[in-house]
Symmetry: D2
């Protein structure tokens, strides 16, 4: 991707007015490598100034972005070589490939292509090698650009919590129950009458299936030109809870060998992320942290850890059936969405500077 004279790469956001789109905007503020130059959204907002088109959800909208005109989501209207996609699945299906075909680098949070065999589903700290799928993708699809995806918000949080155990001991079996925050549903999202003082044990869009497949792909290995997914059986149940930010997962995990909770905690606490991710602007020093207090992690108190990019793990104890039980919490719109996509973009910029 061509840099501007400022030395920063020009970028656009597709789906810029939604909850994830907004998170991109404040994460990109003052970014050292990337400069936000265009915002695009659905018909409803076209031609308006961004500051008027958006129902801004948190903090202060940066003035420079407020003045941008909302563009249509087409490669003709949007010129930036780097494209962040916060589109919903219906829109992403056709729009994202158009951009990749037109030579753009699409880093996407949308679910559509995550499980495509030639689309890398990447957490740079975990599976940087999967990026090689881009070459397969280009050859197979004839694209000049590329598409790189990140997982679902819960998939990422759980994968980061478990990757140290998987790498060291091997996972044999996995049960997960999530309690997911309101921001995960976007805006307007969940009506307050449905969730105030309530729990809803259902999330649409195939949430459970996404978690059950994406984690296996992300923990998989590159064999020749393909990702061979991890093979352990897993079960995920999901719930919506009245929490603003931060998904929590109660996990029971069986490992290939017997491990004490203390040993597991030590392995997680001392885990080092892949060298390829270290030093990226959005990479936290430690992507997984162990909380020692008996009642942690908690989404309201732990999701924002290290800029929202660190997953907090705690409550490590023996499970009466499998080996271990633990709880993980992470920030769903940062580590689980916009921050994940941004980290992928940074990873790509560093590993393939000429794209």
């Amino acid at each position: 991707m061509a840099e501007k004279r400022t030395g920063r790469i020009p970028a656009a956001i597709l789906g810029a007015t939604g909850a994830v789109g907004q998170t991109f905007i404040w994460l990109l503020k003052g970014h050292p490598w990337i400069e936000l130059v265009e915002v695009a959204a659905s018909e409803r907002s076209l031609g308006q100034r961004y500051g008027e088109a958006v129902h801004w959800l948190e903090g202060e909208l940066p003035g420079a972005v407020a003045g941008l005109t909302v563009l249509p989501c087409t490669p003709e209207a949007v010129s930036a070589p780097l494209v962040f996609s916060a589109l919903d699945a219906a829109a992403a299906a056709s729009i994202e490939p158009e951009f990749a075909r037109a030579g753009r680098t699409v880093v996407t949070n949308a679910r559509n292509h995550r499980m495509d065999p030639d689309v890398p589903l990447v957490i740079p700290e975990v599976n940087p090698g999967h990026l090689a799928l881009i070459d397969v993708q280009r050859e197979r699809r004839g694209w000049e650009g590329a598409m790189i995806a990140n997982g679902n918000c819960s998939s990422i949080v759980i994968t980061l919590a478990l990757v140290p155990l998987q790498q060291r001991f091997g996972i044999r079996k996995l049960f997960v129950t999530t309690m997911q925050a309101l921001f995960g549903a976007g805006y307007p999202g969940v009506p307050s009458l449905d969730i105030a003082g309530n729990v809803v044990p259902y999330i649409g869009g195939g949430e459970e299936e996404k978690i059950e497949t994406e984690i296996l792909k992300m923990l998989g290995e590159m064999v020749d030109d393909a990702v061979k997914p991890a093979k352990f059986p897993m079960s995920a149940q999901v719930n919506r809870v009245p929490v603003e930010h931060g998904h929590t997962a109660c996990i029971a995990v069986g490992l290939e060998r017997n491990v004490s909770p203390e040993e597991a905690a030590e392995v997680i606490a001392s885990w080092c992320s892949a060298a390829e991710a270290r030093g990226l602007p959005s990479a936290p020093e430690r992507p997984v942290m162990v909380a020692r207090a008996i009642d942690r992690p908690q989404p309201r108190r732990d999701a924002h850890a290290r800029g929202g990019m660190t997953v907090t793990v705690g409550r490590m104890r023996r499970d009466p059936i499998l080996d271990l039980r633990l709880v993980a919490a992470g920030h769903n719109t940062i580590r689980g969405a916009a921050g994940a996509t941004l980290l992928n973009a940074e990873f790509l910029i560093r590993s393939r500077p000429r794209e």
Copy 2:
């Protein structure tokens, strides 16, 4: 227990000012068989009128009860033959046996004696036969009175959800994750700063161990003079969520034979409770109900079903590891505490009218 001239049995509440104590009061209002005549509580409230001593949590305090003088929790001060105990564990340890020794019938919600081999842990619809332990208890302890306990709030909700499957197919393995309501922690209970917009993945007092042992005892069988607990391995993880009333449990269950979700739903929906429980004043027509909507049960909407005495089950689907996944929700202070204790009292009154 001797009836009064009204034909109703006089009863007292121990621990009457707490959250469960208060629930007893409004459940006993207008009860056809039982008349509340005494309230007892800790030192702090002694001698005050109940209406002044209590921080009343919900609805209207019945006028007749407001005027009662708060008595000390001793068999000398309290004369009623039937005693409801809402004592916390520290107080219950010594006080409850004193009452039983003094010839009173103690129906208790406290956790202290639930797992004692000679204390019946009863849900009348599920395991009425366990009541026979009273005879063992008397002989062994030399009591004239008796003590009968109900399980922990979550244990009861989960047991009712699963008993139809256990009776028909046999349970092989069980994973449970709960999301528990604020009322379960009593008053003042959880500080709002800890739980507003948050999830706390920890509940003190050995909550997980209680669930893991009590369910097995309640689903066990009387063999000679003892309860032989059910034998399947189980794992429970608990969470506190910002919900007022109603515990929710996400359940993954393995059965002795392969069962479709539809068949399981049918078995639960058509399950008949034990004949001994039918027609008791507090027994709902159906103690378990199946919700058909894809996003139910929900604690705020389903916990109050049928006076708070019916557990609602839904989200029946195949589990990728075990056979079935489902969600259960029930009212923790009614079906899971005061209502359970009251139902036990009614069951005792009918089955052993001379006690």
Copy 3:
């Protein structure tokens, strides 16, 4: 209105799928005078069974209603002589007059015609005499039917709290700040991301103006053929708060003569509603109650008082500028909407049995 052979008057609900429409349904369940026979709603639901068309918000949907077919909101499709309107303002504007013109009795919760000089805005306990406007209305509009309205949810709660003071001392000046519940915004209503852990100091639809005008009309007097509104200046500020049911109003009121808080409390506590309202099926024994605890009323604890039809008043104290400060809380969808409309219907049935 012609009774059915059952002796009950057949009724329809317009706008039956919304939050207020649903409240009508459970208030009408087992009603002694009125029988719900038809439900009507917007295009989207036409022809469906009610049970499928509705996102049912609370408790259990009565089986008989679940099976009704959703009709269009036209006098041709709907045959019942008594029509409850829970339409939103856009729909109510043309639909309600059509029904009245077609000879139906329309009792409405919609805001459109509340301030029309010939539409009675009635709380039967407060201003039953305003019903006489129906004759004016018919003559002026040439209607065979009639339309009778109730006030906005906050207007009703505040009016009931203050009518005893107005009748006894005369109000001189009035400042009100409301904290309004989520159900007041209907469904889907307020997005959870806007209100979870938040206060929104704005409610659309002219909420403040409605309160400032309706209260004066309801506290006004019939002079000849018109209502002469009360004349005191008043100011209302409104807020949305994360409360499920129950609007709360902080009130500062100046009276025509100096009154102590104790005297004011006594006047409110002993106030008798208009004779015309007594004994109506939905009329509570006391429409206003005084809470003595220093921290009451509270919406979650007091809004449901006496079936949701009693407003609770408390915190009576001297105001440093005006004479008195007090707080009122009442159930917004019952006393402030569906229950108010139903009470108006009952009042009409008894006072004008031949309509």
Copy 4:
């Protein structure tokens, strides 16, 4: 106050384990002028390491502070010349004067001495001249040290919102209704069962009286050696709402001359704080900001503005009785407590460098 060799003034926190004490800790992290060297608290925590003694409420406890030993609250045990007091009123009564007598500079958030005629109640941007009371204080009390107080959380937010109008037009009359956040009650503070989905129209500790007197003192003028308080009549009603951070105030204000909402907004937006406060490390560029969106300010979205030190004002409109209505929101533990105290300390350090 003597600087350390680092050039920073050593400081201690009294009441360091509570909610305000904790806020001091993270506000002081990396402070350019002040270095936290000691923490003191009540008997319960004495001798423990701070990290063990505290139930840390938000974010991460700085490691350096975690290792400090908790000292008793006496001038013998605590050596720092600058003392931040987050003591509750019962403790502050005797402890604070002891420190001042022992030559320490006490900046306090406690309510005890705010209204003492010789204690400056300061917001540096508003009434810096009141600091002169220190000389009166020393002479009268024979202290070598000094005590300077800040107002109650709501008093400060409301004063900042109104000072531009007071300075330009003069306030004639003031009605305020507050909706106050949970953090204002400290920890454990409000039980969740009291406030979840609820509003409590009462706050203990004389909250309404504090607001009604402190605002007048803060808006008063130094005349000779005393503060002559502002004279307008005012009325405050307070409520607790389920909001984590941020107090909101609905304000109706009468001014000495007729002002349009637009003009008032302009005056507030362009108001300049006192020169004495500008450039202090904790002083925001603008201590009051005007939000233009119709539904702002909102505590969850606006309280954190500019590090929590800026009050946001909005909803400016004509009041039917007085001249103007408006809404203000500000961060109660930062601008309304710890941040206010810290700003006072900075102000003192700059204005009286030799103390």
